[in-house]
Structures are given as C-alpha cells and as structure tokens.
Symmetry: C2
Subunit: 360 residues, 2 copies
C-alpha cells in the first residue's frame, strides 16, 4: 500500500510517498537524484537501524554519510558545521543531493544545510518519526536553534521528495510516537473537525501502531498541512495557524532546555493552554475543552506545565518567540474544534488567568 | 547628481541609488523600511566614519547596531553568530530591517544573516567600498567562508534597495580602490568592450577619484552586472561568466589565508591567468593579452601569483572551488575583449602550461 500526495508550490512542488516498507523501493528514491554525489545525514539512533539499507540503494552514486548526535540540544550552528565539513572534505559540488534520514531535528538541519551549501543544493527527506512524517515533511521550514530562541536561524527550502515509510515507526519509542500525535491532533483542531472525530475513534489503534491507521493518519495530516502551506508558503498569513500551541510550547522547550521535553509534549501543553484561554474568552465551551484535553491524554501526552517553571519565566520566554509582532503577543486560539484563528485582540487579563491557572 | 538603476527580478526587484553625498538624504533610506525595528551591521573601520550619521537618519526607529571586526578572515559562521546574538538580545521580530554599512564582507554577512534570521527578514545595503558598490550591490549573493572554501555557506537573497554613495569612496585606501577596479575591468572583459575602452581612457581620473567618473563607473558596472543577473538569478548558466578570474583567484585567496590578499587583487591575477590560457588556446591574440595586463597594472593591481604558492597547492585548491562540476574544472575564458565563455572543453596541457608559466 502506497499513497502519493503532491505538495503544490509551483516550480518547488514535490511528492510525498506514504506507505509501509516503501523504503525498500530504490527507484522511489533514485528517480529524484540528479547528479552522481549523495550525502546522507542521520544520527546515532537511526544509523544502526536504517543507514545500511539506505546506502545499499545508492551503490551507483559517490555516497558519503555523516552521523550526528541525537537530540534537539544538538540542533545548533556548531553541529551543523559538521555537515559542511563533511561536504567540503568530500569535495562535493553544487550537484550533490543531500538525504535527511531521521526525525525532525535531522530534517531541519539537513534541509538548512542544503539551503546554504554553495547557496543551495537539492535534498530529500526520509522521516523516521511520526512527528517528522506529519510535520517536517510538509512546508519547507528548516532551521537550527539559538541559545536565545528556537528555530531562529533557518530558511524556507523545499525537498525534492519525501519518503514516509510507516514501517520505520515500529522502532519508535512510545514517548516519541505520542509526541508526533500531538501535531496530528493539532491539524484536527485547526481546520479538520472530522479528522478530530476520527482520531477520537482511532487513538487506541494508532498507539498499537496498526499499519493501515498509521498510513491514514500520516496521509490526512500531510494533506491538511499541505493545504495550508500551499496557500501561504512564506508564512505571511494563514500558515501561522499551524503554530497553535507553539508560542506556549516553545516557552516550555526553551525554559526546560532543549531536549528535556519533546516538541510534541510541549505543544500538547501549549494546546491545552490555548484551549483554556479560548474557553475563558467564551469562544469554546467546557465540552470542547474537555474533549481536547481527553484526546491529548489518550495520546499519552502531558497537559500541565513543568513543575519548576514560574509564570514570570514563562512570559519572558514567550516574548522572544518569533510569533511576537512589534512587541504584542499574537496567539493562535480556537473558535471551535476545527477552527483556529490568529489574534492579538483578546483581554490580556484572561491570558494572565490562564497562565495563573497552569501554575503549580 | 543621483542615478537610479532598477534590478529586475520580478517581485524581488529593487533600486540601486548611485550618487555623491546621497547618504545624507534620509528619505532615500527610510522609504524602504517597513517596520519599527532596525539593526545596522558595520565594522570597526567604517563605524567611526559613517555609523553616527546613519543612526541620525534613523531616530524614528528602535535601532541597534553591531560592530564586527574588519576583514575577510572574519567572514565566518562564528562571527555571523554575533549578529544573531544581537538580534535576539534586542528581541527583534520578523519585522526588523537589517542595514549593511560597509564593504563586501559586511554586505555578504549581513545579507546572509538577514536571509536566515527567522527564515528571512528585509535588508538594505549601504556599500562603502568600490568593490561592494560594483559587485555585492547586484546579484543577491550572500555567504560566509568555511576553512575549506570561500563563500561555501550562503544564500541567494535580494536587498530592498542599495544606496551607493560615491562620497564614501574618498575615505578608501588606494589598495582597496584598486581591488574594486579589478571587478570593474572584469565587466568590460566579459560583455562590454566599449566599457573596457572607456576604462583605458579614464583610469587616471578614476584613481584620482573624480566624482563624475566614479558615479559613471559604478553605474555602468552595476548595469552590466544587473543585465547578467536578471537573466540568470540562481546561476544555472550565463551568470557563471561573472566568475571570470575567480577560480584561479579563489585558490590564491584560500592559499594565502583569507584577508592577506584582497579579493580584487586575487582575481586580477586570475584574469591574467585566464587571458594567458585563452591566448595559448588561440582564442585571443598577444595585443589583447597586453591590453588586459596593462589596464590591470594601470589600476594598481598585481598580475603575478604570490611568491610562495606552488603549482600543486594551486591545483588542489582549485579542485574545491564550487565552479567545479562533477570533478572537471570548468573555467571562464575569453574569446575576445568583451566576450567571455564558460568551458571545460580545453586542452588540459595548456592549463598546465599556464600554471607553469606563472610559477616563480
């Protein structure tokens, strides 16, 4: 079973292949490689699992690999430079194709390195986590972190194709699977109420990793995200809705130190906070709030902020988030399940109440 | 006297303002600033000369500045990070406008920082050297160096406008002026034989920095470059002709350590080598070769390679240059004064002869 989605971005359009064990099909990958040079970028967790089998698809090419340390805390300029070192030591030209084999961190770093190396070389994504398959594979956002803010240094840069093999999700830790489900639930909340309903029905099957529901959840998530991205590639408007839960969530990730909380865990709490504020503003009712919280819990996600974060620390960290416009905090909030809006036109006291209520 | 050139790149089009003392006109600058936040990036040489007067144009904005060390040897990721530090410490949003005040290094670094900060913020160039006014101000090439190669990490990213005030050239060292003239002569060699003739006539007036000839030389150079760039923004074809002398020149710059030879000095030698090889191939005659060498000398530029570089070192450094395609060295060579071509279809022995003849 394989599904193919097309992300429509003019001359930067590309296909996403989704299916079980599709990584074994060499042609799927090699049809998108133009030159003779390939650099595979992966990490210490993924390399023992999948690097060898990917390299075996590429015996016709001059192929090198670089294995980075695993974790969000290594998503920085210094570790990125290891990729540039490898590219230059291998004398790779502007015709090199870079392949990101791993989760979101590997995808973000490889994509950004590809955007910058010799001012831009082609790259291909092979996402191996649910989060990367449903999030990083659509949208072309690449970046590294800075000590003062997440994803602050990056580029919009589209891959030539994405190969999302759901078979790779079988080696994923439960906690990582749940982290991916946070983004999945987000798509339902933003603009797809039927998908939210479907997730309520299928959450147990998803957590048991049933192949057909995994393929469907990746496909629907990518389609939902692709619809938003196609209409706003450079995030001047509607695309910002994809940041539901992220302004709160980034503050948690930054405050806890990158890597201690998983991205999906942080935005799960962020979504509950956005839902809480939306309820205080009278935009959603208590039933909707309860459904949102319940689905996140069913997905194995946290819904309360870390023990040792104060409201002051939280606000200070939120102010450096890039969703801040000219000093005012704009937030993605909910009008209903399946309808998110971007707003800075809310009662600031209600935001303070939300922050207060999440204090320990 | 002010001339305005338009670089035509669709929605990325922008104006270049060229004239004497035009930096004193605040509106020229401020009409291109959208938000309320501005970061001026400059260096330790330029800051004492022009920073204060630029800041006085910007009193209506929340404005910060960062002063980098001066020199090609500081054009790297580490120094670039100082710009990101300042942007983040100032809590600047995606609405910040960055201003590059300085030569080519400042332009390249500020442009690349602008391309990457929050995945892209607007920037404006105020080039203060002849090289930057005639080269960096057109084309949108931004980059930093890597220890293994020049300009290896960068982006194509266009400014909102360029303000080339020829008055700033009066504070330029003679050696820096000559370095800029190397790029100017290059435009004549590539596709503008009349301009080459004009330069032969006006070289003394240029070196005396007569205002009218400075304005004209910047205007004609920018126009020549803009014509090439408009037809090939991402350097898939004809734009590569602008690399005349650069493959040889980059090898000199890398071999000597960044900053010891100025960029224009290195490519002056590179152009003589390209002309020498073109003559050996029978494409240009001895008269043309002599005119090229004489004009470079009249501009105060070197025409022989550094004392302590061997031919082996030279070839090894050329092989990592990004103009290398799939392992073959493609060179920009001359069919005549005013007509350059890109070729890898030349007798390799002739290249060896050229390298040999430039040995000390």
């Amino acid at each position: 079973m394989m599904k193919t989605l097309h992300v429509s971005l003019g001359e930067r359009s590309y296909p996403i292949y989704i299916g079980d064990d599709i990584l074994s099909q060499a042609a799927l990958l090699t049809q998108h490689i133009q030159g003779k040079e390939v650099l595979v970028v992966t990490n210490t967790t993924i390399a023992p699992l999948y690097l060898q089998s990917v390299l075996e698809l590429l015996t016709e090419y001059r192929c090198e690999s670089v294995i980075l340390p695993d974790g969000e805390e290594f998503k920085n300029l210094e570790v990125l430079n290891q990729v540039f070192d490898e590219l230059l030591q291998s004398h790779f030209s502007r015709q090199v194709t870079m392949i990101a084999l791993g989760g979101g961190v590997i995808g973000d770093m490889t994509g950004f390195a590809a955007a910058c190396y010799q001012r831009g070389v082609p790259f291909i994504q092979i996402p191996t986590t649910l989060l990367a398959q449903v999030d990083s594979s659509v949208g072309g956002k690449t970046a590294v972190n800075h000590p003062l803010g997440k994803n602050m240094i990056g580029a919009f840069y589209q891959p030539k194709c994405v190969i999302a093999d759901t078979n790779t999700l079988n080696t994923l830790e439960d906690r990582q699977l749940s982290s991916g489900l946070a983004e999945v639930i987000k798509y339902g909340l933003i603009n797809d109420p039927e998908f939210f309903d479907w997730l309520e029905q299928n959450m147990p099957a998803l957590r048991e990793r049933q192949t057909d529901v995994l393929v469907e959840v990746v496909e629907r998530s990518c389609q939902d995200k692709a619809d938003v991205v196609a209409s706003d590639e450079l995030e001047h408007g509607v695309r910002a809705l994809l940041n539901l839960g992220h302004t709160f969530g980034h503050a948690i990730e930054t405050g806890m130190g990158y890597g201690n909380w998983l991205h999906g865990e942080a935005i799960a709490v962020g979504m509950v906070m956005a839902a809480d504020l939306s309820q205080r503003l009278g935009w959603i009712d208590g039933v909707d709030f309860a459904r949102i919280k319940a689905l996140l819990i069913a997905a194995g996600l946290p819904t309360t902020i870390p023990e040792d974060m104060s409201s002051d620390q939280f606000m200070s960290l939120m102010a450096v988030d890039k969703k801040v416009q000219d000093g005012r905090i704009r937030l993605v909030l909910l009008k209903s399940i399946g309808k998110a809006i971007m707003s800075d036109d809310y009662d600031a006291e209600k935001l303070a109440e939300t922050l207060e209520s999440f204090q320990h």
